[in-house]
Symmetry: C2
């Protein structure tokens, strides 16, 4: 499990054994069962999560109780409600495990300590934040320019593994279409 | 003009005069007339832009020639096609001035030099990237959960000044609605 976090970070910055031990000392480990909520809307968001294995989904429940899937996060991804995390306000979304999931958890305080204690970790997080920003820009564009079928095909092309693991109802919500519409989009649905 | 960049950075990190001079040496200044394209789809993206005064819009032209507004950037905002900028690939979008605009321009090479030469700038950019990521997450959520009228009202509430400055056709495109639909949404349209 440690090796996965180390490999993930070392894709961007090299770490000595001492440095990695320092990094690791800022995280706590969590094993969460399928269906567990890591936080729910209205609760405090204590952690940013790194997924070692398993699958998370960020969910927004609207006033009518309908759920909207904001994102999925699988192995090697980071996830949280970042607005709530960085501003230490109540969660505007819920984060749920879709599978049994192994996580590294990082509080905002430890994130800051880690960055100031080992400045190259700031470089690492900057790369991840930029990549996240690019991914979001791409998704916004897909909402503006693509219909549901195209968005489905883009997802299939980028993350084929994800489609095998995500319940179709949630996939439909992620794409912003009804379950019935999704059924018409492809053989794998 | 220098004071605006300095104040913008000093909201996050303090800078000595020497440090600010070092920061400034990595930027070039550009004055661009209204309607100028800073880059067009297919061209290389040389810079990340900081807007000192004026207004930019990031535009995607689809295969049919229809334009989609991905974002607006006014004073104190950073803008670019970040996927193209960070990966040094051709622009997938165009960046245009909607007003006469004063800009600070930063190449990727200078961005990297600046971060390695003055590591606290990495901290600054991390804060901006995280804020950008949060803003994108909010916009994705608004596409999933809000109708055009709600998205219009959210925009009005967050950026009242923007609505006075942006042509209604572009505003409609940003919201993902037709110009006619926008006209029905509010008295200011």
């Amino acid at each position: 499990m440690q090796e996965k976090l180390r490999q993930h970070i070392e894709k961007i910055i090299p770490l000595s054994d001492e440095e990695f031990a320092f990094v690791l000392s800022h995280f706590t480990v969590k094993q969460a069962k399928k269906k567990t909520f890591l936080f729910r809307m209205g609760e405090s968001v204590r952690y940013s999560y790194f997924v070692v294995s398993g699958l998370l989904t960020l969910i927004y429940h609207d006033d009518t109780g309908k759920q909207h899937i904001v994102s999925f996060a699988m192995e090697d991804w980071w996830e949280s409600d970042y607005q709530a995390y960085f501003s230490q306000t109540a969660a505007g979304m819920s984060l749920q495990c879709l599978e049994n999931t192994e996580l590294y958890c990082l509080t905002l305080q430890d994130y800051r300590k880690l960055c100031s204690g080992l400045p190259k970790m700031e470089h690492f997080f900057l790369q991840k934040a930029n990549a996240g920003h690019v991914g979001s820009q791409r998704r916004i564009l897909s909402f503006l320019t693509s219909n549901a079928k195209e968005r489905y095909e883009q997802l299939l092309q980028r993350y084929p593994a994800l489609l095998q693991r995500v319940p179709k109802t949630l996939l439909a919500s992620y794409l912003g279409v009804s379950r019935e519409t999704l059924s018409r989009l492809g053989p794998s649905s």
